[in-house]
């Protein structure tokens, strides 16, 4: 048995232990998401237009992340609409930023890995970078929008006569609670991913100026910041959609 097979089985077992049937559905969602991410990279490498591939797969990934293993209903709908809007805004930010930062492809630190490989592939690595950044922020945006939408519904259920202004301030309060933990999820993920690179920087005595212009470091840092911006924008958008939705249902 390979390491991955055994770990997948253990993950399956612990998700069942933690969440029963819902854990099972969440596990299925993860498998589907993996397939979608894998299909995205294969299609992009075949030369399909990255934006179309990424947009279609992003929408499917959001559907799976939000509706699988989460109680379905109005809060899931609001989370889904919010995620679509936020991801749309974030994409408008990602494309020019990636163009400006020029962090596509590989950095000088990758030289050893690239030996003997052809680099003139006819695939624009700038497109690959954009696709990577778009897909990597989906999870964070979906998670934040579910948390806020669910929180707002709980408050409304608890106190059905609550005013709109009060709902708005309660929503911001929930936003404040989730932003701290969401930032930690993202930034610890960033540290964990780049631990080896940071040690490399220190061992080879990179100056601060070299680090803040380093292609790989900046590429990952941009991904983390974009996800953070996605999470922040999720707060007002969820509250806005929630209040709008409330108005139309009354």
């Amino acid at each position: 048995m390979t390491t991955i097979t055994l770990l997948v089985l253990i993950l399956f077992g612990s998700m069942l232990l933690a969440g029963g049937k819902q854990g099972f559905v969440s596990f299925l969602g993860l498998i589907f998401n993996f397939c979608l991410v894998f299909i995205s990279v294969v299609l992009i490498s075949y030369g399909f237009p990255y934006l179309i591939v990424t947009l279609i797969n992003a929408v499917i990934i959001l559907v799976i992340s939000i509706y699988f293993g989460n109680q379905q209903g109005r809060n899931a709908d609001i989370a889904f609409i919010t995620s679509l809007i936020v991801v749309g805004i974030v994409i408008l930010l990602i494309v020019p930023i990636e163009q400006w930062a020029q962090v596509q492809g590989f950095g000088p630190e990758n030289t050893e890995d690239l030996e003997g490989l052809s680099l003139q592939l006819g695939v624009k690595f700038l497109d690959v970078s954009c696709a990577m950044t778009i897909l990597s922020c989906l999870g964070a945006v979906a998670e934040a929008s579910i948390a806020i939408a669910t929180g707002l519904f709980e408050i409304e259920a608890h106190n059905p006569t609550i005013t709109r202004a009060k709902l708005r301030s309660e929503g911001l309060l929930i936003g404040k609670e989730i932003i701290g933990t969401a930032f930690n999820t993202l930034f610890f993920g960033f540290y964990g991913e780049l631990l080896a690179l940071f040690i490399w920087f220190s061992r080879l005595n990179y100056s601060f100026g070299m680090i803040i212009n380093d292609k790989i470091f900046i590429s990952e840092f941009i991904m983390t910041l974009i996800s953070s911006i996605g999470v922040i924008l999720t707060i007002p958008v969820t509250i806005g959609i929630f209040l709008r939705h409330k108005k139309t249902t009354i």
Binding site: T2, G105, S136, L195
Partner: protein, 376 residues
Amino acid sequence: MGDVILTRIRPKVQIKWLTILIILIVGVVAILFTHYDAPLYQQTVAQVEQVHNYGKTNTTDEFQNRDYQENQKLTLKILNGKDAGKTVKAQNQFSGSTATDQEYHPGQQIFVHLGSQKLKASSIMITGFKRDTTVIFLSWLTITFLLIILKFRGSMALLSLVVNALLFMVAIELDVHTNFNPFILFAILSIIFTMVTALLIFGKSKETVVAIAATILGTFSAILIAYLVLSVTHQRGMKFEMMDYVTQQRLPLFFAGSMIGSLGAIMDLSADITSSLFAVNREEPTLTFWQLFEDARKIGRSIMGPLINVLFLIFVAGTFPMMVLFLKNGNSWGYSCSMIMSLGIVQSLISGIGIALTVPITGLIAGAICKTKVIK
């Protein structure tokens, strides 16, 4: 009544505009600063003044990938050092895919290495692209959004980020300059990370203590399981030789990375469950330990999936450039996936196991603490 509301709203709006104005000015100053900060660099910085593209040739590699290559003659103005102000010529070559190279445009700033040969084009080497303006802009944008939307309520999140970054740098320096076992070093760092972050974000309370304990237990059980699995399966299918940027023993580094990577998500989950359980217990003190534990599972299972997804998408999407490179170099889907994605997948699996296990762990600890309090 309308008047009362109007007079109450007006000053609020003005303060908001003032804050936004200040944030805007700070941003513009910071961005302008990075545009003119060349004198602060030790490396030579130059600005691209003129570009002349020539000699575009189509290329086809052994895998029938069609691309092109083009040359550029650049006119550069040196911005710092003893040659500041001088104009020099340099050569650049880029491909259509720009995997390791890039096309330059007038106005961009780059790092160059001036050879010994008196600023001749042949001795000038472009060593990098200046990206600090972009980074400062995006960081500024993030902080601005945070402050505009959450006002100063978001400042604790920022403070914890800064404190953690400093702690992380200290740990890296200790790892590089001492012979301390790297895994133990980063394990200690993880414990400190957890305590500092939890105290800063959630404040000092019984809930925080429970969340810290659950986070540490959840993370360590995931790492322990991963360690056992790797030993039992003799790391079959693991491509540790494909780990990037490695300058020391691979296995401890991999475990340390996975541990730190999953810490934030696990803390997120344990804090959510703990605060909800304590709130439920306050409202209905008659609930038994097992009812509380069931509640923990109920909360945990709806957050668990999306949280595992967050890290999974980050870890797996990060392998995209290498995947494209491998796929286009005549490798099969399966081979590329196992070579490039396996480490990212294992890292997501470890964090997933940690997140899932944290649900019952937090339920047990929080339930026990709630109930012992009642017995007293």
